[in-house]
């Protein structure tokens, strides 16, 4: 970009959600206005700050401060021009300084501290905003020091299982072997989740840096990123980031003269949900069908191609640089119980102000949904909230004061998972949602174990019989037993946790299974 001193810096995200509601057209419109009016514009296609409800969010740098307007549609550009938005002029869509938008200001951003702020494909911008500070710290700490720091931080796997990251890394480090792998799980298939995508589109070098540190900690020179094919924009941005990192000596041999070798291969998934399970993902990375593996052996001991492998989610890996840079103590000071640090929650579905909220564990569902989310998008009453993706429980409004941490949710028969929160209004039919959970499991089961492969098909049939009032009580009993069998007998979380949404739907919304008229009656606007 040949920006002159007088050029106005404008940010318009190149990020899936922003683009899905017109950011490319807005960016083109801004540039067209610039040339039409003879104003020099330096356009930056940043990542998203995660304020999805304000997308496309246009930011203009005025007097060194970023002033936000949003949501901007291409039709708004004429009136924005008339208001002289390039000088920060007043307009109904003006939100003021980005950093002061309460939705953002109230967050506690660690993993997402740069997302939205920087040009995702500018290594200079990355470094100027704290990038590679964690890596430099890691070089000083050495492998043993990194492992201690990660353990002390209390970081647990952000993909959903919540396993302590430091212990996993220690296991890989302690397992003898010439070749070890870092396999990053970017197969973010849970509905209601998009934090991996936001990070890979908005701050891809953070993931690369996290993987470098993991490689240093366990003695691996070879990383893989397994990205779902449903994320074409993340794919193209991350591929560019890998090439830039290679060109500028952050990947390859003798990285930054530190004598460290590490490179990353980017693989695409192919539309299979179960490949987000770590062993199925390893199979897929080996070019095979994504069938679950028996555990043990743990992937940390026998993983990719039989070698010791760190399998971590995008967010887990991308959190490490900031933890090292600011110190494990500061991270561990946040959160509650055994859930330490921050989690990037994702507010989705029927919610007025959806997006990414990174905050310490321990806030309540209500704070998240009401304070940040502002209630439903439709303006109707909330009826159910599903947390943790398609394998997560549905919570009724009576449970909205539940604090968000791993243990509390486990006690309630639910899970935090990857931090996705999907809001449903009072038009939802929960028998239908329970049926969908079983149906989805039937479609996505890898087929290796019977409880999942057959149980899910039977589950759909049993729910249909309950709804049709065929031996209703006996079939409710059968459904519970089927759920028990799936939980106890499945090889992985696919079959093992599909019963979570089903059981919660039966437990809290039994009426929906028993009488369709109840659902229809509650479908009216209650407010």
């Amino acid at each position: 970009m040949n920006a002159t001193a007088a050029a106005v810096k404008v940010f318009v995200p190149r990020e899936t959600t922003a683009v899905s509601v017109g950011a490319d057209e807005v960016a083109a419109g801004v540039m067209a206005y610039g040339s039409r009016s003879g104003r020099d514009i330096e356009l930056v296609r940043n990542g998203s700050w995660g304020m999805c409800w304000l997308e496309p969010l246009v930011e203009v740098v005025v007097g060194g401060e970023r002033i936000a307007y949003g949501p901007v549609s291409p039709d708004d550009l004429d009136s924005l021009a008339a208001a002289d938005f390039l000088a920060g002029g007043e307009h109904p869509l003006k939100l003021g300084p980005t950093a002061k938008i309460p939705w953002l200001e109230k967050q506690n951003r660690w993993t997402f501290k740069r997302c939205g702020r920087i040009d995702p494909l500018d290594l200079g911008d990355y470094r100027a905003n704290g990038g590679f500070a964690g890596f430099e710290k890691a070089l000083g700490l050495g492998a043993a020091g990194i492992l201690e720091e990660v353990k002390a931080s209390g970081l647990r796997g952000r993909g959903g299982a919540g396993f302590p990251t430091g212990i996993k890394w220690q296991t890989v480090a302690d397992t003898p072997g010439e070749k070890k792998y870092i396999a990053c799980n970017a197969d973010e298939g849970d509905s209601g989740t998009f934090s991996d995508r936001l990070l890979m589109e908005g701050d891809p070098f953070a993931l690369i840096e996290g993987m470098l540190i993991a490689g240093l900690a366990v003695g691996s020179d070879h990383g893989y990123v397994y990205l779902r094919s449903e994320y074409p924009l993340a794919h193209s941005i991350f591929l560019k980031a890998l090439n830039l990192a290679r060109e500028q000596g952050w990947l390859g041999t003798n990285i930054q003269g530190a004598g460290l070798d590490f490179d990353i291969e980017l693989h695409l998934g192919a539309g299979s949900y179960v490949c987000g399970e770590e062993t199925a993902m390893l199979e897929s990375l080996e070019g095979k069908a994504g069938l679950i593996r028996y555990k043990p052996p743990l992937p940390a001991i026998e993983g990719l191609f039989g070698k010791p492998t760190v399998v971590n989610n995008v967010i887990t890996l991308a959190s490490v640089p900031e933890i090292l840079s600011r110190g494990s103590e500061a991270y561990a000071a946040l959160g509650t119980g055994r859930s330490r640090g921050t989690l990037p929650f994702q507010l989705a579905g029927n919610v007025r102000r959806g997006g990414l909220v990174e905050t310490a564990f321990g806030l309540t569902l209500r704070q998240l949904i009401e304070d940040w989310g502002g209630g439903t998008y439709s303006g109707r009453k909330i009826r159910a909230v599903q947390i943790g993706g398609p394998l997560g429980a549905y919570f009724p409004t009576e449970l909205l004061d539940t604090p968000l941490d791993y243990e509390t949710f486990a006690e309630l028969g639910g899970l935090i998972g990857h931090g996705g929160v999907v809001v449903f209004d009072n038009r939802v039919n929960m028998a239908r949602q329970a049926r969908f959970a079983m149906e989805f499991c039937a479609v996505e089961s890898c087929g290796k174990c019977t409880p999942c492969r057959i149980g899910s098909v039977r589950g759909v049939e049993v729910i249909d019989r309950i709804v049709a009032n065929e031996n209703r009580e006996a079939n409710f009993q059968l459904l519970q037993e089927l759920c028990d069998t799936m939980v106890d007998g499945s090889l992985c979380a696919m079959g093992g946790m599909t019963p979570y949404p089903v059981r919660s739907a039966v437990r809290y919304f039994r009426k929906d299974f028993e009488d369709d008229s109840v659902v229809q009656a509650s479908a009216g606007v209650n407010e």
């Binding site: 899905s20 973010e188 192919a270 949900y273 579905g349 029927n350 949602q433």
Partner: protein, 155 residues
């Protein structure tokens, strides 16, 4: 019209991935990008060049939803069926799409213009319901927007 299968181009795709059997899923993506589906001829040739059995390759093709085995229409329209989009009316949108296009999920219109497919999450869950047309995602798609998308993209 789908591109005619060309064994020399197929070899090029396979060699582009170093003919490494562990890259089979990636190689199949290469075929999908080029031909929009995985043909019998492709399965045969991939098996031969990677020194795998046809059953091995077929097993991988049939496992993954992406690897369709019949040609796609000119455009592939995928409607998200997952929970976040359900909460914003994706079931009704799907019904509308099937009615407007006159086909069910997984099918292609008779004129070969549009293939309609389900997809389970596009990661656009804060601006649901989401639809993907070829490689581009659209958010907050109501019936009217869907009609405009299908028409506009067709020109």
């Amino acid at each position: 019209m789908p591109k005619t299968y060309d064994p020399s181009i197929a070899t090029e795709i396979i060699n582009g991935f170093g003919a490494r059997p562990e890259l089979l899923v990636q190689i199949l993506h290469g075929f999908l990008d080029r031909y929009s589906y995985i043909s019998e001829a492709a399965v045969r040739q991939i098996a031969e060049e990677l020194n795998l059995s046809r059953a091995d390759v077929h097993g991988v093709v049939s496992f993954y939803h992406d690897f369709r085995t019949t040609p796609a229409g000119k455009r592939v329209v995928r409607i998200c069926q997952a929970e976040a989009c359900q909460s914003m009316g994706s079931r009704e949108l799907t019904e509308h799409a099937e009615k407007v296009l006159g086909i069910g999920m997984g099918n292609t219109t008779a004129d070969g213009e549009v293939t309609l497919e389900p997809v389970y999450c596009l990661g656009n869950c804060a601006c649901s319901p989401a639809v993907m047309v070829d490689h581009r995602v659209y958010g907050r798609v109501d019936n009217e927007r869907f009609d405009r998308l299908v028409q506009a993209e067709g020109q």
